[in-house]
């Protein structure tokens, strides 16, 4: 597995920019090495629960980051798209609900899940792109809550309140993909691939045009770009990434129910993206890691300090509040400012500042 991951990392950026080896900062190599040898350092819980969940939430938030950061469209539908992908896996694959699940092989239901979820996300996008700013948020939030209530009341397809259980990944190549180490690498590879894909697309003509549209749609229209089509295509691309995240999520939980895409979950994705920073594709993953760590360990932190563990939401809320207060552009913004401040610091030899 590690070998395959290595080749993924080394081939993809090569296409993006020649001379890539020197251009990748040392920190990135160190991070890649740590990620690859993580199974030696961490226990199963950290691998499966903390990192597996981080990569999955990071991918779903990445799809929002792509829309918001490059397209200027804050969409709250990404979690619903992911959940629909997960539902499709449950319906076309195997689950404990044998009355509904069709039980197709994996190479059929995975493409179906991605395609159906992408079509759904694209349709929502087509509705939403004609609006701007807060209205985009409202229309996507409205559709997301409609999706939640629909799945909760529909028993014929979505099995209502109970949803589906016992959904496990296929046993490919004799590997149980739900055991911690394989699942860690599976999510890592998917996360790295989608990260590289977003980086690549953001530098492609399409991505540049999209960023142009974000900054000035009228001028781009005057230049002959089809603004609406570019935005809808951005939704389609983002939905495909979100749907892969949704498939991994349903495998990790082994079940899916309306609560998976409930309003809190929808908002959480926005929070993750904002915490991490929507300026660059690495932001959502940083945000997801912070979210998962807070979510997982805040009750323990509280009890360590002798407080009642049931107030854990307070800690999460305060953490997010502090971050947004001191750094509206997320952890990435904080990092950038820290670097800038270091760069501005006077040179110890000449006493001059660089700027």
């Amino acid at each position: 597995m590690a070998v395959i991951d290595n080749t993924d990392r080394s081939t993809a950026p090569e296409k993006a920019s020649p001379g890539w080896f020197e251009s990748v900062p040392t920190a990135a190599w160190a991070l890649a090495a740590i990620m690859l040898i993580m199974p030696l350092l961490a226990n199963d819980f950290i691998l499966f629960q903390v990192f597996g969940w981080t990569f999955i939430l990071g991918m779903i938030a990445l799809s929002l980051m792509f829309l918001a950061g490059y397209g200027g469209m804050v969409s709250l539908i990404q979690m619903s798209v992911a959940a629909l992908g997960g539902y499709m896996v449950a319906i076309f694959g195997t689950s404990g609900m044998t009355d509904i699940s069709i039980g197709l092989p994996w190479w059929v239901f995975i493409p179906i899940a991605i395609v159906v979820a992408t079509i759904f996300g694209t349709i929502v996008g087509a509705l939403a792109v004609r609006t701007e700013g807060i209205y985009t948020i409202m229309i996507t939030l409205a559709i997301a809550s409609a999706f939640f209530y629909f799945t909760r009341q529909n028993y014929a397809i979505f099995n209502g309140y109970s949803g589906f259980n016992l959904i496990v990944p296929p046993q490919l190549f004799g590997v149980d993909w739900r055991s911690p180490m394989p699942f860690y690498y599976l999510t890592l590879v998917c996360a790295v691939l989608s990260y590289l894909l977003v980086v690549y697309v953001s530098r492609s003509p399409f991505g540049l045009a999209l960023q142009g549209i974000r900054d000035n749609p009228r001028r781009m229209a005057a230049l002959g770009y089809n603004v609406t089509a570019h935005r809808i295509a951005a939704y389609a691309f983002a939905s495909a990434i979100a749907s892969v995240g949704g498939i991994l999520l349903v495998w990790q939980n082994a079940q899916i129910s309306p609560g998976t895409a409930g309003i809190p979950a929808v908002i959480d994705i926005l929070v993750i993206a904002v915490i991490g920073g929507i300026g660059r594709p690495i932001g959502p993953f940083i945000g997801a890691l912070i979210y998962v760590l807070l979510r997982t360990f805040s009750p323990d932190v509280l009890t360590t300090f002798g407080m009642s563990g049931e107030r854990f939401k307070l800690l999460i809320g305060l953490g997010f509040l502090a971050l947004v207060f001191w750094s509206p552009d997320g952890v990435l913004g904080m990092w950038d400012r820290w670097k800038a401040r270091r760069a501005r610091r006077a040179d110890p030899l000449t006493g001059e500042t660089e700027t």
Partner: protein, 421 residues
Amino acid sequence: MKKALLATAMAAAIALPSMAMAQDNTIKIGILVALEGAFAEGGADGVRNVELALSQANNMAGGKKIETIVAPTDTTPDTTVRQARKLIEQDGVDIIIGPLSGSEGIAMRDYAKTIPNNTVINGISGALETTWVDPADNFFRFNLDGAQWGAGLGSYVVDEKGWKRVATVAADYSFGYTNFLGFAVDFCRSGGEIVERFWVPLGSSDFGGVIAAMPEDIDAIYLGVGGTDAINFLNQYEQAGAETNLIGGTIMADQTVLTSRGRAKEALVGTPTSGALAEDNPDPAWQNYVKAYQDAFPEDERFPSPSLFGVGYYVATLAAIQALNAVDGDLSDGQNAFREALATTPLETPLGTVELNENRQASGTVYINEVVEGPGGTLVNKMVGKAENVNQTLGMSADEFRAMGLPSRDTPDCAALAQGG
């Protein structure tokens, strides 16, 4: 700063598991409980009751010290399984007590199958499927399920009240179906007739359509919704003229509804309900328990008397303590002896004696209450009867019960039950 913090947190997280293994003379119990969302108050009462039960045993069972770790959930199955995994893999608990709500219970049944060397004792979740469909060997439930809680009410309203034609308004999700099934089985076999069934989504606020479509010639309405939904229904029903009697599901006449303001109250007096407990139960075991609960916590940090959720977690903890004492705290051999003790020893609880069947599901007592006007115009529940030894199949044979089908909008079929019974 942030980075350093993050690195510390990560390092701590990675380093922790090796230290988290249980020492030889302590037993770790994880409390899996909803502390977010609609059941947060009840969940907090669950935690209090685990503490109460443990402090009554001096935090010792089977000669070993008991340690607890709380894992909060938000009632979604996703979070529940995540938290359970954290309890087992990260905190290294031996036994999990929980969860609280129905769909969480089903998720935990499936999760329990993946941890064969640990034991799960249900908190208060009441889905029938948890211990009926493909149950897990290491999942034990010492509370009655949602269908059992409805038992006894049907025959009570037919025999005592003479109400034979009933329309039903119930919540359109698994607990609504299950709780209704318990009522309907008993009701139809006693000769009652269900004229019309209305299913309303959770969180409904407008019942105008349902009230307008209500048939004229009925003796009572069965109301299987709870909390604010019930208050909304009652207010609108009162405004529309409130002509007939009411029968309540298990979660209908709870404190939120009884203490609500407005006209809802007027419709409620004389409404029979059924459930796991009766607040004025004269049984000394119950009275002693209520007193212990009231003495253990200051008045502003508890309910006036233990809630349904609290009692569930209390009974589950009693079960764990009793079984640990029986095996002298020996959890070796995949906890086999401990499970054997759990499954076979009858448990004395504040709600009467509880025994488990072959699916590790409790049989016990269901209490019939009626809403009456108490001192100062407040509404209180008064115990008017009880149905004892209600088992998982509601007195039917397992095959008959299975043939009836799982609870849904159309199950059970009332006419078929009336003929069969």
